[in-house]
Symmetry: C2
Subunit: 237 residues, 2 copies
């Protein structure tokens, strides 16, 4: 499993990805799932991946071998279609040999090209995409359920970057807590609108932030439970 998320903010874009990979519970490792495709004066392209690791890495290798498709695209959706197409090519190449094993990959692609505003797209294994929007200014891939509510809450509150980053890490922690196939270190990337540079930070498993945040959450959740009105426990009528 995997959990990656990305948020569209007034200030720009935020990406967060876990790094846990496994080929069974007896073969667990750390691998980067957040990739900078291009960081140039006219464009920044970031790709997060969830799914078959072999497919992901071959997609990245193929894109890197012929980078003009990335550096010459006029709009982000063209990059998304290119990534989607390469993904399908890689899956097709190995499909027969892999048999029933799932070789597909989902991606989140975000960034900015030239004068276009920052854009955020989710690329499906079928090669098509959907865009984040004002109504749903975040995207998720992988294990999406555990961390979804807090993203919705943060989006509804229109939290600025500093608050949104806390929401993102909380969403990740909630997911890692419930699914051992998601885990630290976590890779965070922040793209500030029109900056054409990316800030990247890795949050390690022993980062004091994680323990402190878990304690703060537990305290507030128990306080919320405490404050709820009593539930009627006797029979109706």
């Amino acid at each position: 499993m995997t959990y990656c998320l990305a948020m569209q903010l007034d200030e720009g874009l935020l990406f967060l990805a876990d790094t846990r990979t496994n080929a069974g519970v007896d073969d667990v490792g750390v691998v980067r799932k957040l990739h900078v495709l291009v960081a140039a004066p006219d464009r920044v392209l970031v790709l997060a991946s969830a799914g078959n690791l072999g497919t992901t890495q071959e997609v990245l290798d193929r894109l890197g071998r012929d980078p003009t498709r990335l550096t010459s695209a006029a709009q982000l959706f063209e990059v998304a279609l290119c990534v989607g197409q390469v993904g399908q090519e890689v899956v097709a190449e190995h499909k027969q040999a892999l048999g029933n094993a799932d070789a597909t990959v989902s991606f989140i692609l975000g960034g900015q090209i030239g004068d276009d505003p920052p854009d955020l797209l989710r690329i499906y294994p079928e090669g098509n995409y959907v865009r984040a929007s004002e109504d749903r200014p975040f995207l998720q891939i992988g294990e999406t359920k555990y961390g979804k509510f807090i993203l919705e809450l943060g989006a509804a509150a229109r939290l600025p970057l500093a608050g949104a980053a806390k929401v993102a890490v909380t969403s990740m922690m909630s997911t890692a807590r419930e699914n051992v196939a998601v885990g630290p270190p976590y890779d965070l990337a922040v793209y500030r609108r029109d900056s054409f540079r990316l800030d990247q930070h890795r949050i390690d498993a022993d980062d004091p932030f994680l323990a402190e945040a878990a304690a703060i959450w537990e305290r507030h959740l128990l306080a919320a439970i405490e404050e709820l009105p009593p539930v009627e426990l006797r029979s109706d009528g």
Copy 2:
């Protein structure tokens, strides 16, 4: 979809089930998923179901036609095996006609028989079961992910019945918020140890508790976000 949960408490057992049923998004209805199999001076048996509604109802009808299997069982696990077996019989009966449609059902069975302590079992479609325990004193069936964390938190805090009921309803609300195939009214049942009677209460969609609880949760979650230490947003090194 469906969401049912049950909790093992020092005071006894608590059950909560949603009532939404659908045969597609254009055919949505309300159906009870929390059933009292037996309420007698020597035993109380409660069954919650998730899965094919036709199978569920035929299982209940078959059990009702021959209730001595329920009223004469000496221990709860015998009832679980009986329910599991009847479930498999019903599925086998309709399997060919249903083709690829999933006719299976999962159950939570809870109650007390005679001098045995209250017991709580999850019955799988295959007819076997697992028991709630001190380490994991709750069971879930259906859409289990969204509401799991708060159950774990409540269990870790060893909340007594009144608090546990708030946790249960919160777990249900979290699930219904994210999956429209789960929804009110919610059926709550409380069995107090050695009482051999069941309290049952239905929480309707317009119950003021639900709106008040949602507001309290949102306020506490945003306060928790606010209190979290800042996330490092600049590049490492």
